[in-house]
Structures are given as C-alpha cells and as structure tokens.
C-alpha cells in the first residue's frame, strides 16, 4: 500500500506530468489525481482504445502483446501502460 503511494508520488513529481489515473479492467478509475469529469472521460475513452490496440497486436501475431502505448498530441502526451487487470494512464506535457 505504501509502495503504491510512493510510486505514484514519484511519478507525479516528474517534470511535466499533469495527471495520473489508474483504471481497472472494467473501466472504473481506481485512483486519480485529476478531477472526476476528466478522469471518467479519460478512463472511458482510453480503456476502449487500449483494448482495441491490444486486440490488434494480438490479431497480427498471437504471441505478441501490447506493452505500452503513447498518444502524442499537439498539447500533451498520454501514456498508457496496460496490464492484465489494470492500466496506468499518465498525461504529460513534454518540456519543449
């Protein structure tokens, strides 16, 4: 429990990080550092995206699996680390 907190705090402390969300397999945000509306929005949308991406990767090669996803946009970068039951979403604003 404490390690989790520590990890999250460390991530939050990195330069440019705007928010962190931990979402479970059903799309429910478990832990978040942002406001509720944005959290729910991010959680819902990204959840579907990750599932689609994962299924794509596995369709192409069943031995393969999705390890990480970066969505780079003009204003920021959304990074998603998927796992079997949970995903960790971090929104970062790159320094330059």
């Amino acid at each position: 429990m404490a390690e989790v907190e520590e990890t999250l705090k460390r991530i939050q402390g990195q330069k440019g990080v705007q928010g962190i969300i931990i979402v479970n397999a059903e799309g429910i945000p478990i832990k978040t550092t942002m406001d509720n509306t944005s959290t729910v929005q991010y959680a819902g949308l990204l959840h579907q995206l990750v599932l689609k991406a994962r299924s794509t990767v596995r369709d192409i090669d069943p031995q393969n699996d999705l390890t990480f996803m970066r969505v780079r946009s003009k204003k920021n970068e959304i990074m998603i680390a998927p796992d079997k039951d949970y995903f960790l979403i971090v929104i970062q604003n790159p320094s330059d």
Binding site: L8, M79, D83, Q92
Partner: protein, 659 residues
C-alpha cells in the same frame, strides 16, 4: 426383360414369342415393360415362321397400341429329340420380321413445316438478378460516462463507490501491477523529459532529386502519306499556338527521279487523328519546305520544287492564297523558308540551291523585296554562288541571319548592311558536305548547331576557324537536327538509317544519350513542339512519326544553364587558344621560309610550271603507294613466305607497268 421358361413346361411347340404378362403379374410393371422375349436358338429349323397374332381382349388393355402386336416365331422339335444336347452353330443373320410402314396411316398425319431449331444437350439456365434491399448504416459513437461498476454498487452513491475503490486498493494484484506499471511509466516519462523523440530532424537538407529513370522516348502515332506513291516528308512545322496540328511538306527529292503520277499535295495533320489529314494543301508543284507564321497560326508559307513561294491561309482552305511569279522566284527548288519578325508580320525569306536568298512580303508575292546572292567573292555573281541548303533566323537577333551552303560553309550575314558586298559578314568552314541543318541554341544565341556529312557540330560565333564541339563521325549521314526548346543542352539529330539520336552534352559528349530506331527508311526532317516534349520526324517512306520524349529530357534541370554556359565558355576558350597557337606557328613558318628563300639561289624558287608540278606530284604519289604496298606485303610475309615472293614480284611488275 428376359424370362426363361423351364424346359419341362414347354409344350411341343417351343417358340419364341413376345407376350405380355398375364393378369396379376403384369400389374407390377409399367406398360412398356410388359413384353417378354423368349428366344431359343440352335434348334432344328423345322417350322419356323413368324406370324402376327393380335392379342385378345383382356390382355391387350394393359399395353399401348404399338405393342399389341404379337410377333411369334415358331420352332418345331420332335419329341424324341428332346433332351438332346444343344448343338450350337453359327449361321448368318436372317431377317425375321420386317415391319414396313403403312402408307395409309400417313393420311392421318399432316406434315409439319420444317423449321430450324437449335438444341443442345445441356441444362436450361436462366439469368436472374437479385439486389438486396438497401441497408442503411450510420456511424455513431457512444460516450462512456461512467465506469462498469459491478451490479450491486450504485454509481451515484459516493459511499459505495469509495468503499469499492478502497477494497480494490487493498488487493494484492493491484499493488503488484501498479508497482510494475509505475516503473515502466517512469522510464518513459524520463525519456520524454530528456529527448523529444518526435522532433523533426534533418529538415534543412534538401532532397536531391535525381532522375533515376533512363531516358526514353515513345512513339505515339505515325501519319502516313495517304497517296499510293509515297513521297518523302521533307519538312515539318508545328502550329505555333500550342494546338495539336502539324504541317508536313511532301515531295520527291530523289535526284532526277521523275515522280510522275505522284500527287502534289501536302497535308496538315491533327495529331489526334492519324487516319485522315485535317487539311490538304494543293500547291502547283510539290512543296519542299513550309513554315507556320509564329504570329498568326492560320497562315503558312511554303517553298516548292520549282522555286515558287506559296502562301496559304488555312481558314480559306487548301488552295494557295497567293503564289509568287515564276520569273521572280528561285531558279531551283526552295530548300528552306522562314518567317521573319517584322511589324507587319508578313515577311519571310527563302533560300535555294540556285545561290540566292530572297526576301518576300507575303501580301505581294509577285516579286521579292530583297535579294542576296551567296557569292564568295561578294560580287553578286550567280554563277559562282554557293547553293544554300539551310537558313537560320533567331527572332532575338533580327538583323543577323545565317545560311548553310551546299559546299559545307556557313555564311553569317547581316541584313542591314549598306552594300550587298557587306551583307555576308563571315563564313565558317567545317563540313565536308552540304550543311543540312542550322540552328542557334535558344538559350545561348552565340552558339549554333550545324549538321552535315556525318557529324553534328556546335560553333561559337566568335571562333571562325572551327567548331568548338563536334560529335564523332557517325555510321550514317545526318540529315537534320534541332535544339530542344526547353533544355539548353539537349539536341536531336536524325540520320539516313532511320534513327533518331537525342544528345545531351551535359551528360555525355561522345555518344547520344538516347538512340532510337524510328523506321527503316531514312529520316529527312525533324521538328519539335514548343513544349519540348512532342517531336515529329519525317521519313522517306512518307511517314511522319510523332514521338514523346521522357520528362527527364524535356524539363529544365536546376543547373543546366549555368553548367552549359561554363561548358561553352571552356570550349570557346580552348579553340581560341588553339587558334592563337596556330597563328603563331604559321607566322614562324612564314618568317623561316622567307629567310630560307633569300639564302637560296635557284630555279626552285619561282613558279613551278604546271607540267613540273604534275610530274612531281605523280612521283610523290607513286612512291607513297609503293611504300604502302611494300609494308603490307611485309606484314603478310611473316606468315606465308612463298606466296609473298610471287606477290612481291607481281607487285613490282605492276608498279613498273603503272609508271
């Protein structure tokens, strides 16, 4: 269908017959099957007679009419002979029954009219089309508002959700996965902070676009002379306003070959329609050259075989609007005619092998406005004049023009000279044969291209002794050439063996960049459209071939002009230096020979009489011949000595006799 009755059941008559099944037995079978055939063979002939027996009553009702005839064949056998072994023997076929058609029955029928009916032994198929009903679909998205909470938790209630979350947080799986994901995530975050992995590097470097594809040109169309007797396409001219029309002059240029019966017409072709010319031009004598007015795309002027100049307006059809009078025209065929740049846009000048260059105003073709006789002595003497074979005029230099002669000289002339003597400014010598084509480089007017004998030469106006660049001696005679209007370093030549050569002097100087065999007949004329892509060449067989040049050879490259300017300059400089050196040598020689002449006292100096000259040259010639023969025989002698001796003796005899 065979049913054999056991032998003991047979009565004395053992006979084969057709009989329907009786009563109950027959009920199981369809009518046509109710015939049994009983046949016994090999018995003594005895009575064997076929006979017809109509069926009686009840039995016959099961059968169709045609089967109700009983054909019975009777064999007889003596009882005593029963049980004997069958002795089979072959016997030839015997007609048992012959049922001939009954003509009376035909009266009950009417003959159908014969009809052709197509049949085939295949399944009948029919074609049907099926279309499903239009299925309308629309794209819609759903926005996920709230997570997939388990059933028992009400998402609205804060308490329940918080409790759920807390529960999850305590889960071990959760803790492990978060730790793991956290480390991956950190790595990426740090990476982002360190380097912008998506930045566009190498933006400034320009992509060097090299045209990798090899040069090519493809034939698009061939316009053939529609007449029976094919004449040479001697000149081609594109319509200047970019419209796709090509004018071609046809005439028979064979020396003293009478082309009786060949038509006098020349044609204007629309390049979209190679089958039929768009307009037929009907001069009084075949056209040797023609030219479209660059200012007015409807007017054309042409020079004909008998020396007359003809003027057409295509809006008025194929008959010439005006023809020059025979007395005032050229005395020989007009090889080249070109429009001049003038305020009225009606001036043209023509050149012919009679030695004259005449200027005309097309509104009044009865007499030329000006005349120049190409006399090398500048006296206007027609007898000594050079025959002109090609003309050159560049609109940017309206007072100067050049004439290519039959003798291989190019004469540069000034139109605005005060006296006729001064009109011919200078000459350039270089070719061994007539200069068939002459054109200034559209980008570098100081340099011009000439074609004659077996080479193409590029000249600079300043260097009069020789050309600055020339091609190798080709395998066949070059008949025409022109620069590309788009790329300054590209020019095209056509040869007598039917090949078109495209030269790019920035790329390769020794050989053509592309050599295409257009046809088997010699090619005589060549004309490029202003866009530099389409090119027409005319052959002896009357076919004008339209080719399209690849984009690499018809689009201006970045450094073309500067590179070519540098090349021309370099070559010009080289020639200048060579010229200067030559002059020096000559001066030295002259001074040396003058000195030696002063010292010597003798009859050698002075005039050699013609006789002495002749004998001297003869001696020289024969000594050379002998030397060469000796050398050759020595070479052969290394192989076969015996033969040699005889040969040498023979040669000696020959030379002595020749002397």
């Amino acid at each position: 269908m065979f049913q054999l009755f056991p032998l003991d059941k047979i009565s004395t008559y053992s006979r084969p017959f057709y009989r329907p099944f009786s009563g109950s037995q027959s009920a199981f079978l369809p009518a046509f099957l109710r015939v049994t055939v009983h046949l016994f063979t090999g018995l003594s002939p005895g009575h064997s007679q076929p006979f017809y027996r109509p069926f009686s009553g009840s039995q016959s009702t099961f059968l169709p009419a045609f089967l109700r005839m009983e054909i019975v064949h009777v064999y007889t056998k003596l009882r005593s002979e029963f049980g004997r072994q069958c002795l089979f023997s072959d016997r030839p076929a015997e007609l048992l029954v012959d049922v001939s058609p009954d003509p009376n029955l035909a009266l009950q029928f009417i003959q159908k009219t014969r009809r052709d009916q197509a049949m085939q032994a295949s399944r009948d198929m029919s074609e049907h089309q099926v279309n499903t009903e239009r299925f309308e679909s629309e794209s819609r998205g759903i926005n996920h508002l709230e997570g997939g909470w388990p059933k028992d938790i009400n998402p609205q209630e804060m308490e329940q959700t918080i409790r759920f979350r807390k529960k999850v947080e305590k889960d071990e799986v959760y803790i492990n996965s978060v730790l793991q994901l956290g480390s991956i995530m950190e790595h990426c975050i740090r990476q982002n902070n360190a380097v912008d992995i998506y930045r566009e590097y190498f933006e400034d470097e320009d992509e060097v676009e090299e045209n990798q594809e090899p040069p090519s040109a493809k034939t698009i169309n061939v316009f053939r002379d529609p007449n029976e007797l094919k004449r040479t396409v001697t000149d081609l001219s594109w319509r200047p306003d970019g419209a796709r029309k090509l004018a071609a002059a046809y005439s028979c240029l064979e020396f003293q070959k009478s082309c009786r019966g060949s038509s006098l017409d020349s044609y204007i072709w629309d390049i979209e329609n190679p089958n039929k010319p768009e307009l037929t031009l009907k001069p009084a004598s075949p056209l040797v050259c023609l030219d479209y007015n660059p200012k007015d795309p409807h007017t054309l002027v042409g020079g004909s075989y008998n020396g007359q100049i003809v003027y057409w307006d295509t809006r008025r059809g194929g008959t010439p609007v005006e023809v020059s009078s025979v007395e005032q025209s050229h005395r020989d065929l007009v090889y080249k005619i070109l429009w001049l740049q003038s305020k009225t846009g009606t001036d043209a000048f023509s050149a012919s092998t009679d030695g004259q260059v005449l200027w005309w105003d097309v509104r009044r073709l009865s007499e030329p406005t000006d005349q120049l006789v190409l006399d090398p002595c500048r006296e206007g003497n027609l007898d000594r004049a050079f025959g002109a074979v090609s003309l050159e005029f560049e609109p940017t230099m309206p007072t100067k023009f050049m004439v290519g002669t039959e003798q291989g000289l190019v004469v540069s002339c000034n139109r605005k000279a005060k006296t006729p003597a001064e009109k011919m400014v200078c000459t350039y010598e270089g070719h061994h044969g007539p200069v068939y084509a002459l054109q200034r480089n559209p980008f570098f007017p100081k340099n011009f291209l000439t074609v004659g004998d077996w080479t193409a030469r590029i000249w600079s106006e300043d260097i009069k002794e020789s050309s600055i660049m020339w091609t190798r001696y080709q395998m066949s005679y070059l008949s025409n050439a022109c620069w590309s209007p788009v790329r300054p370093s590209v020019f095209f030549t056509v040869k007598m063996d039917g090949t078109l050569d495209i030269w790019d002097i920035l790329f390769k100087q020794n050989d053509p960049t592309l050599s295409l065999k257009v046809c088997d007949d010699p090619l005589y004329s060549l004309c490029l459209q202003d866009n530099g892509r389409l090119l027409a060449c005319g052959s002896q067989g009357g076919g004008a071939t339209l080719l399209e040049v690849c984009s690499g050879l018809s689009t201006l490259q970045k450094n073309d002009k500067s590179l070519l300017a540098a090349m021309f300059e370099r070559e010009t400089k080289r020639e200048k230096i060579l010229e200067a050196r030559q002059r020096e040598i000559r001066l030295k020689e002259r001074s040396r020979s003058e000195q030696s002449r002063e010292e010597e006292v003798g009859p050698e100096v002075g005039d050699d009489s013609p006789h002495q000259l002749i004998t001297w040259t003869e001696k020289d010639f024969f000594s050379l011949v002998e030397a060469e023969q000796r050398r050759r025989s020595e070479r052969e002698g290394r192989g076969q000595q015996e033969k040699d001796v005889c040969e040498e003796r023979e040669e000696k005899n020959e030379t002595t006799s020749a002397k």
